[in-house]
């Protein structure tokens, strides 16, 4: 699936991914109107990225050994090893960042961090305000899939837990060399009694499914995500979480193919949840909900800060049906593994 020339069909999702010239793309579009051709919708395939909690923060992803992951440093030091996908994503990210800095909007992100109003000696502030820390529910019997950069399968906090994993990234095992995937799985399914307090995980007895759909550089494609979605549905996962996405332009319509995938997932008992996106610079700029969270059939999650206000970086569409934030949850300064 890494090759831009590769074609693939996901039979259980009813989706095909194929290279297409502009002429072929227009031909496919025309075929959608032909009732004799079983083609419903089409759209360009996107590159997607892991969404960091605070894109202008100083997050450091740690390995199970407690050492800073040096993947990025080693990659930068070996430019010959960079893939086109990575270069494309890197270029987009830099252009986006430069544009924001030039506009003076990035300074909004450097707001003063308010003193913690919560005692986090036992549980994170997020678990406290959501009451997950005292809930009678722990996720027993629920299958939760997290599609991201994979998982640190050797992390002691998950020793003895039921973990099903698979990589959809060519030549990269599930083991998370980025850190974002392990972070997200920790929040969703971390233990009731972690090796080091505070407790940070919600569904501590849920069956965890770790799908690596983003590379160790933190990027992937729609096709890799679709592979993970098809895998999670086949395993009967009730919840499928994706803290990933790609920015969209104001007024840009949701991807109609991914919308169909969301509908078909719901029809098979799987709720897909995705991050709304972290590219905003509130209060001066509110970006629309990103792809794929802007699909109506996918639950879009925004981020709250400790004051239970919308986090400055969190996206939120207010003008287009289906592009709105469906739910918001603690998403700033969230302690984790």
């Amino acid at each position: 699936m890494e090759s831009p020339e590769a074609s693939i069909v996901f039979p259980n999702l009813g989706v095909a991914v194929m290279p297409a010239s502009p002429e072929q793309f227009m031909g496919i579009r025309a075929a959608e109107a032909d009732s004799n051709v079983p083609i419903i919708a089409s759209a360009p395939e996107n590159v997607v990225f892991a969404l960091q909690e605070d894109p202008f923060g100083e997050e450091e992803w740690l390995t199970s050994e407690g050492e800073e992951d040096e993947t990025f440093a080693s990659v930068i030091a070996s430019p010959a090893g960079l893939s086109m996908e990575y270069l494309r994503g890197y270029s987009d990210a830099v252009q986006n960042l430069v544009g924001r800095v030039v506009a003076g909007e990035a300074l909004v992100e450097l707001e003063e961090v308010i003193p913690a109003a919560f005692d986090e000696s036992q549980t994170t502030w997020g678990l406290q305000v959501t009451k997950a820390a005292t809930s009678q529910f722990s996720g027993t019997g629920i299958k939760v899939a997290v599609l991201d950069t994979g998982m640190d399968l050797e992390h002691p906090d998950f020793a003895g837990r039921s973990i099903t994993s698979r990589s959809f990234i060519e030549n990269e095992p599930v083991h998370d060399r980025h850190g974002h995937g392990t972070h997200c799985i920790g929040t969703a399914c971390g233990p009731q009694r972690p090796s080091k307090l505070p407790r940070y995980g919600v569904a501590y007895t849920a069956d965890t499914f770790a799908g690596k759909v983003l590379s160790n550089r933190g990027s992937g494609t729609d096709a890799q995500i679709l592979g993970g979605i098809e895998w999670a549905i086949a395993h009967g996962c009730e919840v499928l979480s994706m803290s990933l996405g790609a920015p969209v332009l104001p007024g840009q319509r949701p991807n109609p193919v991914v919308e169909k995938v969301g509908q078909r997932a719901l029809g098979q008992g799987t709720l897909i949840i995705a991050a709304a996106g972290n590219e905003s610079g509130r209060p001066t700029r509110i970006n629309p909900v990103g792809h794929p969270a802007n699909c109506r059939s996918i639950m879009a999650v925004g981020a709250l800060d400790e004051r239970l206000q919308v986090a400055s970086f969190s996206n939120g569409e207010r003008t287009r049906p289906g592009g709105e934030v469906n739910i918001a949850a603690p998403g700033r300064l969230t302690l984790n593994i």
Partner: protein, 48 residues
């Protein structure tokens, strides 16, 4: 005539150059065949 744009540039930044296609769920094989025809790819050469 200007050379026609090819690849990801045609679809815009952040795209791969490939196309996602939703097929009728009960006619996936027929849809894949139709795509092969539209793309001019033989059954032997196509990736599915």
């Amino acid at each position: 005539m200007a050379e026609q744009e090819q690849g990801p540039e045609f679809f815009g930044p952040g795209t791969t150059g490939r196309t996602l296609v939703a097929l009728e769920p009960d006619r996936v094989e027929a849809g894949a065949n139709a795509l092969s025809d539209l793309a001019g790819v033989s059954r032997e050469r196509r990736g599915w």
